[in-house]
Amino acid sequence: MRDFSTEELDRYSRHILLSDVGVEGQEKLLSARVLIIGAGGLGCPAALYLAAAGVGKIGIVDNDVVEISNLQRQIAHFTYDIGRSKVESARDKMLQINPGLNIETYQLFLQAANIREIIRDYDFVIDGTDNFPTKFLVNDACVMENIPLSHGGILRFDGQTMTIVPGESSCYRCSFRSPPPPDAVPTCSQAGVLGAIAGMLGTIQAAEALKFITGAGSLLTNTLLTFNAKTMAFRKINLKKQDDCPVCGSKPTITELTDAEQTTCDLKQLKKDGNYVAE
């Protein structure tokens, strides 16, 4: 077992006090590696909590810079960060909370060509992306690389999340199959989101990562947790691994990654809106 310094024992004392975490669990956290995809509404709260928890290596992927309209919910970015890279901004705040961490930043667009190589260095992935083609890409890459993943989505007053352990539990594609046609997806001006919803969901995703690493409790596997903040109704929907799933089923039709589902036109639009990867 590793020797904890007095400062570490103090810093992590509230974890160590938990019988399901303890010194052993904290040791696991300190040597764990978690990748957060998107430094936006979901990724920001997840990043801050994982940093505070002492997750030893945290990767964060985003190609965007901070804009003023992000600040309503992307809680790691401050007013003085406007114009800065989101991954740099998030990294600063994470290190201010916990200076000893190894934070790896990836300022890039995630694509079929680079995603597998990036996620391979991590034990758990948090999906905080805002668009469906990237959500499916993240799911498929995690299934292929056998890396557990927390899916998250938010819209208006609603949120949903599920945890995917490849080979054991249902994946995002088991239930959702393929990205909806772009013209069916609500546009930015139609949709909107209550800022605190992003925090509710991002912290659930962070908790799932911490539970996975420490082995505490049971995960949201084979379960879609949904909530509506207007009524504060939470529901767990049972899901089942689908044998005909195109990526994790018994006869997969998706055996390699492609960017085909992202049309050039969408990409341009998303780039123009400046939100290709970050929720």
Partner: protein, 71 residues
């Protein structure tokens, strides 16, 4: 017939009920943004017109949720 929709029992006044008809009855605005699960099985979109829903079936409308929050 009585079916369970998103966890709640509902009486639907139809003798025969397909997934397409149910989406219509429930006024699902944008079926493209919903995935339909009947008794733990995801229904292929191509089968919506044929897939019959029976008494006591458990139907879940799973909504696609992306970010929704744009820069």
């Amino acid at each position: 017939m009585r079916i369970i929709i998103n966890g709640e029992a509902e009486e639907i006044n139809e003798a025969e009920l397909t997934v397409s008809r149910l989406l219509n009855i429930k006024n699902i605005e944008s079926p493209d943004m919903v995935s339909v699960q009947v008794n733990d099985t995801i229904v292929d979109r191509a089968d919506y017109d044929h897939k019959q829903i029976s008494q006591d079936d458990e139907v879940e409308f799973l909504y696609f949720m992306g970010g929704g929050a744009c820069s």
